[in-house]
């Protein structure tokens, strides 16, 4: 070790000075770090819009039977978050039962089990993804309501499926926000039965 502490007795003033300078230095470093990473994001990031958020605004825009529906949300307009309901909480069970009934009523041609992702709220409340199974079961309804060919809608869904990264990380999924945007490009605007896009 370097020279012993005995040559200079410790003082509170010295500690305060060193601490304050240290906090100031780290603050400067943090700002440089934050700005540098923002510059990096501008240069090398995928750009704005690369990540979809199923916010209340997005959900309202694509509300209605002519659009693909995402997962229910416990988030507010501005604050992300989950329901925080325990797994056996009666409130959770009642809510899931309502969601299941809703999915069945909206998609009468679907007779199999309802995928769990479509009836549970996500952790962020802005989760834009559903399972491929959840997207596929909505195809007949969306096709009917938009007047599009069912095969066309089905192939759009298949093309929208995101696979596991390196075949390993994550779950196969469909981004409903992006899917609905692609759908709105396909719906001929003069048709009467097209869903109204509320902005």
């Amino acid at each position: 070790m370097t020279p012993d502490s005995a040559d200079r007795p410790p003082s509170l003033a010295g500690m305060l000075r060193a601490s304050t300078m240290l906090v100031a230095a780290v603050a400067a470093m943090t700002v440089a770090y934050t700005v540098a990473m923002a510059a990096f994001a501008t240069l090398a990031g995928p750009g704005p819009g690369a990540v979809s958020l199923l916010t209340q605004e997005a959900a309202a825009k694509f509300a209605g039977e002519g659009w693909f529906q995402g997962r229910p949300s416990a988030a507010s307009e501005t604050v992300s978050g989950g329901s925080n309901l325990g797994p056996s909480n009666p409130a959770l069970i009642a809510r899931v039962e309502r969601s299941v009934a809703g999915v069945r009523a909206d998609n009468p041609r679907h007779s199999g089990p309802v995928p769990i992702d479509l009836v549970t709220t996500s952790a962020s409340g802005f989760d834009p993804h559903v399972s491929p199974m959840a997207a596929r079961l909505q195809v007949p309804r969306v096709a009917t309501r938009t007047g599009l060919d069912e095969a066309t809608v089905a192939s759009l869904v298949e093309r929208s499926i995101e696979r596991r990264t390196f075949g390993l990380f994550g779950s196969p999924r469909v981004d409903v926000v992006r899917l609905n945007r692609a759908l709105s490009d396909m719906v001929p605007p003069q048709r009467d039965n097209l869903p109204s896009e509320r902005r």
Binding site: T2, D4, T30, N84, I116, F169
Partner: protein
């Protein structure tokens, strides 16, 4: 569910690779008697000299343990005052596009203690409470300093074995600068860059709230420094913080990397790599079985839900207990994140812990209750596990009637007292706090879920605070003054007891001269000692917490689906 296990194994392998890459650099940061070598070392040395010179601490002189501990306490105090100032003056400070007012006193004090003590409990929603200025100049600054103080504590404990007959244990300011600037910063830059490439938000402009802000930079240091404080209320679950499954895996890997690297660097510091590997294996032994339970519980269907729901796993549907989880990660990787964030003291979340299955919540609580030593916080985790190692050799010594020693240092009454204080203050604080909350109706009412799950919410809050984890059963409405201040007191007690006792412990060991290895010395690198070390951790944890855990998550698990609640 084989696929989920392969994904988990791959993520853990990624953590190990990052850790092994860090080890040589981390090893070089401990000795201060000679300058760092190489080009990188010269640059780092120049930064260190200038910073310490400005702080009036150059040339860095060795501090006695008492002065070292006092310096850490003062650094906490100064951090407290500065951060409290930032939050209370938020309305007057710039870079506040939403025009947010000052943070209310109770939440401000709670948040400040939380970030200064490396807990990062969040009693606020980032989007609607904090301006980007407060996040960057306030919280992110502490996200560097708080773990750096933990790493400094680890340095002192390591020097306890490296030095002999020394009255000093290194220079606090030098250690903190090395940890923050030379270790945490480069790792945070690397992880931020990777997250940004995956699509995480990192913007400086007027965008804030749910739309973005300096998210990647804060998330990265929160994970690298086992802080856990996220930019958003939903923390790492938010798509702008963790946009892809790969971003999720990277976050897990970087959370675990530094604590793993610390074990291996410890072996190099004391010039006996077997000892570092033994500590790492004890950690693995403590980490993997509960992880398996957690993953099994979360990937299984929630049987309380009505029939007619697909909860299984197949090619086009990844089921499991998805309430409070993100569809892109799936339940297996979400469970691994939960384990990594509770075993390390990070406390970040990519899934809502309140909605975990009963056994999943049990594992999360278990990891936290063990005192954040299973990998643990950066620095404090390893230092705490060394304290457990002293307990293990002490118990072994009692069994065979020999005076205990560890790594050549004789363990005597003073060392045992300090180790036990460091290990017992957090559980005592947890249980006292939970008991008070459970008997005071006004506090107990903060738990929104009925029955045993409600009790788990109270227990989780105090365990998370006293052990400086910071994750939550987030349904708990901890915004009242008795909660914010009660948890702040628990966070401060847990942190101060741990840091001060461990620094004094290191000092006490550094003053001793090594004893010669004899035939009576217990080898501390073999399977027997690894089992004893893991056993000591489990025993203390089980003795302290099983009664409380039985009232919470275990009761909930036994209650069965749709069992009578309340």
């Amino acid at each position: 569910m084989t696929r989920a296990w392969i994904e988990i194994a791959a993520t853990l392998a990624m953590a190990l690779v990052v850790a092994v890459a860090i080890v040589p650099w981390l090893t070089a940061l401990l000795p201060t008697e000679r300058p760092l070598h190489g080009l990188l070392g010269r640059v780092a040395g120049a930064i260190e000299r200038r910073l310490l010179g400005a702080a009036g601490a150059w040339p860095a002189r060795g501090m006695r343990p008492g002065e070292y501990a006092a310096s850490l306490v003062v650094l906490h105090a100064v951090g407290f005052v500065v951060l409290l100032g930032v939050l209370r003056l938020q309305g007057l400070l710039p870079w506040n596009p939403q025009g947010l007012p000052a943070v209310p006193w109770g939440i401000a004090v709670n948040t400040v203690v939380s970030f200064v003590t490396n807990t990062n409990w969040q009693s606020y929603a980032g989007e609607t409470t904090l301006s980007p200025f407060s996040q960057v100049f306030g919280l992110t600054v502490q996200n560097f300093i708080a773990p750096a103080m933990g790493i400094a504590t680890m340095f002192v404990v390591a020097r306890g074995f490296v030095l002999s007959g020394s009255g000093t244990v290194g220079n606090c300011w030098q250690d903190v600068v090395r940890a923050a600037v030379m270790l945490l910063l480069p790792l945070a830059v690397l992880l931020s860059a990777l997250l940004v490439r995956e699509g995480a938000a990192q913007t400086l402009g007027a965008l804030s709230g749910p739309a973005g802000g300096p998210v990647a930079s804060q998330t990265a240091i929160a994970l690298v420094g086992s802080n856990g404080g996220g930019y958003f209320n939903a923390n790492s679950a938010h798509p702008l913080a963790t946009p892809t499954p790969l971003a999720n895996a990277l976050q897990i890997a970087f959370m675990l990397a530094l604590p793993i690297a610390a074990c291996l660097a410890f072996g190099r510091w004391i010039a006996d790599r077997r000892q570092g590997r033994a500590i790492l294996l004890a950690n693995a032994l403590l980490f993997l079985p509960p992880l398996a339970l957690l993953v099994t519980a979360e990937t299984a269907p929630n049987r309380a839900l009505p029939a007619g729901i697909a909860q299984g796993h197949d090619a086009d549907h990844d089921g499991g207990s998805l309430e409070g989880k993100e569809a892109r990660f799936g339940t297996g990787a979400s469970a691994l994140f939960v384990a990594a964030a509770t075993a390390t003291s990070t406390g970040a979340v990519d899934a809502m812990h309140d909605s975990l299955s009963p056994l999943g919540g049990f594992v999360a609580l278990w990891f936290i209750s063990l005192g954040e030593v299973v990998f643990g916080g950066v620095g404090t985790g390893l230092a705490g596990l060394v304290a457990y190692a002293l307990l293990a050799v002490f118990v072994a010594g009692l069994m065979v009637g020999r005076s205990p020693e560890y790594l050549g240092k004789r363990i005597e009454a003073r060392e045992m007292k300090l180790a036990m204080l460091a290990l017992l203050v957090p559980p005592v604080t947890t249980l006292l706090g939970t008991a008070v909350a459970a008997v005071r109706p006004a506090m107990a009412a903060a738990a929104p879920n009925p029955g045993p799950h409600g009790f788990s919410e109270l227990l989780y809050a105090f365990a998370s605070a006293a052990n400086n984890n910071g994750s939550a059963f987030a349904g708990l409405d901890a915004a009242s003054l008795s909660w914010t201040l009660g948890l702040a007191a628990a966070m401060a007690a847990g942190r101060m007891a741990t840091i001060v006792c461990l620094v004094l412990l290191g000092g006490s060991l550094a003053a001793k001269r090594p004893v010669a290895v004899s035939s009576g010395t217990l080898p501390t690198h073999g399977p027997l000692f690894i089992l004893m070390l893991a056993g000591a951790v489990v025993l203390v944890g089980a003795l302290a917490f099983l009664p409380a855990l039985a009232l919470g998550p275990l009761a909930e698990a036994l209650e069965g689906p749709l069992g009578g609640t309340r």
